[in-house]
């Protein structure tokens, strides 16, 4: 168990300052990332699973301007929380950091997933994800339920949530890497036409994401 916690902490150090007073903890156990990062990466991972469960088809159309503006609004709320609490104008706490981060991650998937599908797959459905109001509301409701689930259960399942948040971090880096790999290479652009190629690209992406996180974590330990 201790080695799992060490691995989670090591990977989490790649993209997070991991300050103890800014992290959820139970006794001597801390989450592998701070409360805001916990929110962002839990949001990314659970939002991705929710969208995949709600929409089985591979959709590659970028969301409408309305959804982009809502996403930017959510990002702004998190940014304002950072600046205002830094200045001491408002007093933020771990729960506020978690919630603002969670919805930032939750909406980020709506921008990243169609983009990844668009540049990776040879064929995709030319529609937006969650283009029906009902699905959008269900997805949003799931977000609220999952954020509440974390707040009420982290004391009993800290390691489980820690694993999920690190999976979210790997997913985030994976999505960014896949988008960049496929969009910047003409030969790779839209080249996924079979399940085998998809699995290979996912494995390569996950290994690259974990290597990058490990490198960042080493550099951080070396520099600080």
């Amino acid at each position: 168990m201790q080695s799992l916690i060490d691995i989670l902490s090591f990977l989490g150090g790649g993209l997070c300052h991991q300050r103890v007073e800014r992290s959820f903890s139970v006794d001597i156990l801390n989450m592998p990332v701070c409360s805001r990062c916990t929110g962002i990466y839990l949001g990314i991972f659970i939002s991705l699973i929710t969208i995949i469960l709600l929409e089985r088809r591979i959709k590659g159309e970028f969301p409408s301007l309305k959804i982009v503006l809502i996403a930017v609004g959510v990002f702004l709320i998190m940014g304002l929380d950072v600046v205002l609490s830094f200045l001491g104008i408002i007093e933020s706490n771990n729960i506020i950091r978690l919630i603002t981060g969670f919805f930032t991650g939750w909406f980020m998937v709506l921008l990243l997933l169609p983009l990844a599908n668009n540049v990776m797959f040879e064929r995709f459905v030319k529609k937006n994800y969650l283009d029906r109001k009902v699905k959008f509301l269900i997805w949003l409701l799931c977000g609220a339920v999952m954020a509440a689930a974390f707040i009420f259960t982290y004391q009993y399942a800290l390691i489980f949530w820690g694993v999920v948040s690190i999976l979210g971090m790997i997913t985030f880096v994976l999505l960014i890497l896949l988008i960049l790999f496929f969009s910047l290479n003409r030969r790779l652009l839209g080249s996924i036409d079979s399940g085998r190629k998809y699995i290979i690209s996912l494995i390569v992406g996950i290994v690259s994401a974990m290597a990058l996180l490990s490198l960042f974590s080493y550099l951080r330990q070396f520099l600080i």
Binding site: V68, M78, N118, F124, V125, L189
Partner: protein, 115 residues
Amino acid sequence: MNDKAEEVKAEVVGSEERPGPMAIVALICGILSVICHCVPVAGSFIGFFLSVAAIVLGIIEIKRIGRGEGSVKGKGMAMAGIILGAVGIVFGIIWIVIISVASFAGVFGDWMNVY
């Protein structure tokens, strides 16, 4: 049955339906800049450069699309990149002001310890 037929019709093949790489990179830079700005000082410096990159690449792509050189599909992404880049620039300026004031007042170290 009808729905399935519509979805099959909606499937696309070919790069003309895909956004240009510059639009994609603009959007990615915009998203990363927002995340970076949440880590005061070190992150905000990186975030500032990413924001500038998002805006510059977004504007270049929109101009290319206007001239008919880029894929129209990238317009939304380029716009989103510019909006996120602009949000990042605003936060970047706020951080620069805060760091300058704190350094001038000699409380920068204390402030960072508080954060």
